[in-house]
Amino acid sequence: MADTPSIIVPDAVEDRSIPSAPKSSGVLITTVRVFNFRCLREAEFPLSPTTVLIGENNAGKTSFLEALHAAIGIGQRHFGIEDIWIDSTEKHAPKSRAIIVDVLIRPVDDEYRFIDTFATGSPWLELWGNGIQQDDQERDFAAIRTQFAWSPAKGEYLTERKFLREWTGELADAPRASLVERIPPVTISQSTPVSLYLLDAKRDGAEDIRSRSSIWHKLVAEPGLADEHVRAIEALLTQVNEVFVRESKVLSHVKGHLTSVGDVVNCDKDAITIDPVARRLRDLSKGMDVILSTVGASAFPLARQGMGTRSLASVLMFRAYMSWKLSERRTEAIHPFLAIEEPETHLHPHAQRSLFGQIQQIPGQRIISTHSPYICSHADIRTFLHFGKVGSGTRIDTFDVPGDPLTPEEMRKINRGVMNTRGDLLFSRFIVLFEGETEEQALPAFAHLHWGLHPHEVGFSFVAVQGAGGYTPFLRLAIRFGIPWCIFSDGAVHELSQMNGCLERVSLPDHTSNDRVFVVPAGADFEGYLSQPTHLDLIRDMFLELAEEEHPMNERGRQAARERLGRKTASEIAEQLRSRKTTHAARIAGAYAKHADEAQRIPPLVRKMLDFVRPPTTPTTPTTA
C-alpha cells in the first residue's frame, strides 16, 4: 500500500509510571451495624483494613455485604420492602420497622493506626465538618446512618442518610442514637468518598469491558492523552478509513449507492463517508479490549478467556482504577472501600494462594468473603469475621475479643501453627484434636469404619496438635468461631497435665469434668490402648504382613517371624507400634476391622468419641462451647 499509515508522535513519550498512592486515606471504617435487613435483625461487624468473612453458606455474609452496599455503595442496589427483616410469625413487616445501617468512621495515620483527631487541613474535616463528633474520650469520629423507613408524610418508604451524634456502647441502643442537629442530611458528595465497591461472585472482567457503568469505563473514558496526540491519532484513523473503503470493493460499492442520498435530501455529495473504524478517539475507546496470551498459547480477547481469568481481571481492574484515582487526586478525600465475594472463584489452588497478595495491593480498605483455605491461610486471624447460623438468625464471632485479648505469642502460634498449615479448619463442622501421628492416621480410619463415610466427606477435621501442650491455639480457634470440637487424649500423667493446662488457659474445666475430652484409660497412651489382648493377634498379623511387604520371605522365615511376634507381650507390641507410627497407624484400623466380633472392631473409647462427634447423617447444628 502506498500510504501505509504511520503514527506520528509529536513528543517523546513521557514517564508514564504510576506515582505511588498515599499510604492510607486517613480514615478507616471500623464498625458497621445492621438492623432489620433480611436475616440480620441486629448485628455488629467490626472491620479491619482487610476483613475476611468466613462461615457456612446462607449464614449472612452476602446479606451483610448487600446491606452495606445498599447503604453506602456505588452501583444500582437499593433497599426494598422485601429486604426488611420479618419474624417467622409475621406475614409482612410492620410499617414501624426500618432498615438501619450505621457506619462508624475514625481517623487513622499512614499505617492505618487509629489517631484521636482529624488534623487541620484534613480533607475529611472539610468534607464532613460538623458531621464529625467527639466521643467521651474526645476522639473524633464520623458515623453515617442510612435508614430505609416508612414516611407517613410521603406515603412511601424512603432512604435517608444522616450523621449520628453518638455511637452507643450497646448495640441494642443504637437505633435510638441521636442525630447531629442543624446540619443537612449526608449528601452524595459526603458519602461517595467512602463508598463501597462490591465485586460480587458474578463479576466478569469481560462483562466490565462491555458495560458502560463499569470501573473500566470510568478509567478509559479519559485516557489522558495530550491534545496533539489525540489529533495525530484521529488523523491516522481518517487515513485508515480511507484506505479501508478504497481497497474494499464491497464498501466502495455501498458508498457509491449511498451517495445518491444527496440527490434526495439536501446535502453535500462529499458528505457521505463510511467509517469502518471509529474516527473519534472517544468512540474508539468504547471498543477497547484486553488481549491476553498465556505462555505457549495464541492471544485471545478477555471474553474468550476462562472464567477464572475474567473474574480475576475484574479484581485487577478495580485495583488499577483505585491506584490511578488516588495518584491523580492525592489530597482529596477518597477512601477506597472494596468488598470481594469469593475471590477464589474458578481459580486453581496455586492461583488462590497468590491471590491474597494481589488483593493486599489494592489500596484502601477491603472486605473479602471466602471459602478458600488458601486465602485464609494468608490472612491475619484477628481480621476474620465468622458467620454462624443460629436458628433463623446470624451470629458473628471474631477471634480477638475485647477483654480477652491474645498474647502476641498466642497470635504467632495461631497464625504460624494453625493458619499456615490448616486454614481449612475455619470451615470445619467439627474438629477432633489429639496429640500425635498414630491418632492422625488411625482415628479417621476408625471413623470411616464406624460411619461408612470418610471425615473429609462431611467436613470434619481430625487434627494432630503435635504434643500435649499444643491444644491451646486450636481450642481458641474452635471456641471463638463456634466450631464444635473434642479432644482424644493420652492417659499418661505428664501428657494429661499438659492437656489440662491447655484447657485451663481457655477457661475450661479439666478432663475429669469435661465431656468433650476423651482420655485413654489406665494411664496408657494410644498405642498401649490399642494393644489389647483381644486384638494382639490381629496386630501381630498386621506386623507380619508389613514385614513381608518390605522383605519378601519364605515359609520358614515367615514361621520364625510369626513365632517371634507371638512371643511379644502387649507392651512390646505397643512399643513396636510406637516405633514407626505413620506406617503402623495407617493399618491399625484395618487390623481391627478383621476382628470376628463386629462389636470389637472399634476400640470402645474411640467408638464413644465418634458417637459424641455424631454420625454425620444427622444434620449439624452449630453449638457453642
Binding site: G121, S122, P123, Q134, T331
Partner: protein, 627 residues
C-alpha cells in the same frame, strides 16, 4: 448598584492577608463588606487545601448578605459558616453541649416577659426571696425589683459568671433559682448561649480544638460591637495557639455600648492576638456633603480620597411632627417622580430610608405615608414575633409545647389562656418525661378546659402533620385562618395580620433550612435567633439607628432631630453623650447621596399637651460644615 472599582492597596492587603491575626479598622463606606467577602472568596479558592471558614456577623441580615455575595464560590454552603455569634453558639451547643447540660437543640426563651415570669415563679417558691419581694412594696416596686434582678443575672452571665461565683448571697440565690427554672423547662436564654459556649470551650479544649481544626480562618464583622462575653467566647474558641482571626470594625460606629458592647475589644484583640493593623480610610459610599456632615460630628474622621459627587445635606425645621411627616412624604414623592442628578438612575422607594433615634418618632409619619399610599415597612428588632390576636397567641404557645414538652412556662401560660387553674407540675405526675410528647400535654389541657378556642387550636395543631422530623406550619395556619372566618371582623383582621407574619417567617425558614428537615423546635429557635427575618422588603424603610446598622441607602432622612430625642434624654454622662454622637454619625453615614435632617419645633406629648423642643445639638456643627 455598586460601583465596580478596583481594590485600593489597603483593601488588597486585607484580601491577600494569609496567616495570623489581622485587625481592620474600616470607616463608613470603606468597602468593609467587600474586602471581607473577597478575602473569604480568595481563601476558599486556594487549590488543594481543605478547611472551612467561620464568618461571624453582627446581624442575620449581614450574614445573609455575605452568603449572597459568596454564592458563586463553589460549595460555599459547606465550606463556610456564616452567621451571628449566637447562631454559632446554638450550633455548637446543639451537638456538643452535653457536658454543659445541653442535649440537642436548645429551646430559647427569647421574650423578656417570659423570662421575668419564670423568675417571678421561681422567687415565689422560695420563702426568703418571696418575702424580700413582697417587702419591696406595691406591684410597681416589685416589678422594678424583678427588673433589677433580671438585669443583674444578665450582667453576671455577660461577665461569664455562673451562679456559684456570685458573692452576694441573695443574688446568688436569685440567679441560681432562675437558672434552675429555665433549665427545668428544657430551655436557655440568650445570655446562656454565650456563657455555655464559653464554658464548653474552656472545660473541653478538645471541642474548641475541633473547631480550630475545622475552621482554619475566622472573620468577625462589626467587631466594635463585641461585648465582654462575645470576645471571651472567641478567645476560648481560639485557645492559646490559634491566631487566624480577622476582626473588622470601626470604633466610630460603636453604638451598642448600652448593651455592654465596647470598642475597646478592638484594641484588646490587637494586643492579645498580636494582630497586624490595616486601616481602610476611603469612603466609597457617601457624597462629599454627607462626609462633611459626618466629619462635623467626628472631626478625626478623615477619609482619604474625596468622592467626586457633591450630594445634598439639608436641615429642615418643621412646625410640628405632622408637618415633619408631610415634608418627608412630599420630598419622597418628589424624588421618586423627578429623580436627582446626584443619584444614578431612578429613585425608588427602596432606595429611601427614614431613620429615627427610637421607634416612637415614626407615629405621625406612618399615618401620613399610609394616607398617601406610600409603601413603607418597619424593621423590628430581631427576635420574637408578637402575636396580637388571642387565637394566634394560643397557637404559638401550643407550638412551643409541641416542641418542648418540658416547657412548664408556656404550658402554664397556655393553661392561663384557657382559664385552667392547675399547677403545671401536676401534668408530669405519673408520666415518663422521656417519652412524653407535647401532644399528650396539649390533649390533657384541652380535655380539661371549656375554652372555645381550645378545639380550634387542637384542630390546627393536628393539621400540622407533625412528626419528629417534619411538620408543615403552613397547613396549620391555613386551618387557623379557616377557623377565624367565624370571628368578628376586628378580631379576624388581627388574626389574619398575625398569620401573615407567621407565614413570612415560615416561608423564609423553609427556604433556608438545611436539608429540608423541618422540626417545630428548629423553626422556633430560628425565629428566636432572628434568622427568619425578611431580608428585603418593599417600600420605604423606617429604621431605628440601631437597626440601620450596616445598611446603606441613596436617600436618608433622619427625623426627630431634637434635644431629648436625638440625643436621647437619658444620655447624661459624657460617655453616654459620646455614644449619642456616634449614633448620629452612624445615622448620617447610612446615606450614599442625599441626606435630610428634620426636627419639629413643637411636639405633642403622650399625655396630650404640646411642648416646644430645641433642635438637636448635632445640627449646628453639621449646618456649619455643609453651608
Amino acid at each position: 448598584m455598586e460601583v465596580k472599582i478596583k481594590l485600593t492597596d489597603a483593601q488588597k492587603e486585607v484580601v491577600n492577608h494569609e496567616e495570623g491575626a489581622l485587625l481592620v479598622i474600616a470607616g463608613p463606606g470603606s468597602g468593609k463588606t467587600r474586602v471581607l467577602t473577597e478575602r473569604v472568596r480568595r481563601l476558599l479558592a486556594r487549590p488543594g487545601e481543605h478547611f472551612r471558614v467561620l464568618a461571624l456577623t453582627f446581624t442575620n441580615k449581614a450574614a445573609n448578605e455575605m452568603a449572597e455575595r459568596l454564592a458563586s464560590v463553589p460549595q460555599v454552603a459547606e465550606r463556610a459558616f456564616i452567621g451571628t455569634m449566637h447562631s454559632f453558639c446554638v450550633e455548637v451547643l446543639a451537638n456538643r453541649g452535653k457536658s454543659v447540660g445541653i442535649n440537642g437543640l436548645p429551646n430559647i426563651f427569647e421574650r423578656y416577659s417570659d423570662r421575668k415570669q419564670i423568675l417571678l415563679e421561681a422567687v415565689m417558691s422560695d420563702p426568703e426571696l418571696s418575702n424580700a419581694l413582697s417587702a419591696a412594696g406595691d406591684n410597681k416596686a416589685r416589678g422594678a425589683l424583678l427588673d433589677n434582678w433580671m438585669r443583674a443575672i444578665s450582667d453576671y452571665k455577660n461577665a461569664l459568671m455562673v451562679a456559684e461565683m456570685v458573692e452576694d448571697e441573695t443574688m446568688r440565690r436569685v440567679y441560681h433559682l432562675y437558672d434552675a427554672a429555665v433549665r427545668a423547662c428544657g430551655a436557655v436564654d440568650f445570655d446562656d448561649l454565650l456563657l455555655l459556649a464559653y464554658r464548653l470551650f474552656e472545660e473541653r479544649p478538645a471541642v474548641a480544638s475541633f473547631y480550630q481544626r475545622q475552621f482554619k480562618y475566622i472573620c468577625v464583622d462589626e467587631a466594635q460591637d463585641l461585648n465582654e462575653a462575645q470576645y471571651r467566647v472567641l478567645c476560648a474558641l481560639c485557645g492559646k495557639d490559634y491566631f487566624n482571626v480577622m476582626m473588622v470594625g470601626d470604633p466610630k460606629q460603636a453604638i451598642f455600648t448600652f448593651n455592654k458592647a465596647d470598642p475597646k475589644y478592638l484594641t484588646v484583640f490587637a494586643k492579645d492576638f498580636k494582630a497586624k493593623l490595616i486601616e481602610l480610610r476611603e469612603n466609597f459610599r457617601s457624597s462629599n456633603k454627607v462626609v462633611a456632615a459626618a466629619r462635623a460630628l467626628s472631626p478625626d474622621y478623615v477619609p482619604q480620597d474625596e468622592f467626586p459627587i457633591v450630594g445634598v445635606v439639608e436641615i429642615t425645621e418643621c412646625e410640628n411632627e405632622e408637618s415633619e411627616a408631610t415634608f418627608v412624604a412630599d420630598r419622597i414623592e418628589q424624588l421618586v417622580a423627578e429623580g436627582h442628578p446626584d443619584v444614578e438612575g431612578n429613585i425608588t422607594l427602596e432606595k429611601c430610608a427614614v431613620l429615627g433615634r427610637t421607634k416612637f418618632v415614626f407615629n405621625h409619619l406612618l399615618k401620613t405615608l399610609k394616607d398617601r399610599g406610600i409603601e413603607a415597612y418597619k424593621k423590628l428588632a430581631a427576635g420574637s414575633v408578637e402575636s396580637g390576636s388571642n387565637l394566634v397567641r394560643q397557637f404559638e404557645l401550643a407550638l412551643r409545647v409541641l416542641a418542648n414538652p418540658l416547657d412548664r412556662l408556656h404550658i402554664g401560660l397556655l393553661a392561663k389562656e384557657w382559664k385552667l387553674d392547675l399547677p403545671t407540675e401536676d401534668i408530669y405526675i405519673g408520666r415518663d418525661t422521656r417519652k412524653l410528647t407535647g401532644m399528650v400535654i396539649l390533649d390533657f389541657l384541652i380535655g380539661k378546659t371549656s375554652s372555645a378556642d381550645a378545639a380550634a387550636i387542637r384542630d390546627s395543631v393536628m393539621s400540622l402533620q407533625w412528626s419528629d422530623t417534619n411538620f408543615k406550619l403552613a397547613l396549620g395556619l391555613d386551618r387557623l385562618a379557616g377557623l377565624a372566618q367565624s370571628l368578628e371582623e376586628e378580631d379576624r383582621a388581627a388574626v389574619e395580620q398575625d398569620i401573615k407574619e407567621w407565614r413570612q417567617h415560615w416561608d423564609y425558614y423553609v427556604r433556608n433550612e438545611p436539608g429540608g428537615s423541618h422540626t417545630v423546635g428548629t423553626f422556633l429557635s430560628q425565629v428566636a435567633l432572628g434568622t427568619t427575618q425578611q431580608p428585603n422588603q418593599t417600600g420605604v424603610a423606617l429604621l431605628t439607628v440601631h437597626s440601620a446598622k450596616g445598611m446603606e441607602f441613596e436617600v436618608v432622612f433622619v427625623i426627630g432631630m431634637n434635644e431629648g430625642t436625638f440625643p436621647d434624654y437619658r444620655a447624661k454622662r459624657p460617655a453616654e453623650m459620646a455614644e449619642e454622637r456616634r449614633n448620629a454619625f452612624v445615622a448620617i453615614t447610612r446615606s450614599r447621596r442625599l441626606l435630610y435632617l428634620t426636627f419639629p419645633v413643637e411636639k405633642v406629648m403622650p399625655w396630650g399637651s404640646t411642648r416646644r423642643e430645641a433642635p438637636s445639638r448635632f445640627l449646628k456643627p453639621i449646618h456649619d460644615a455643609v453651608s
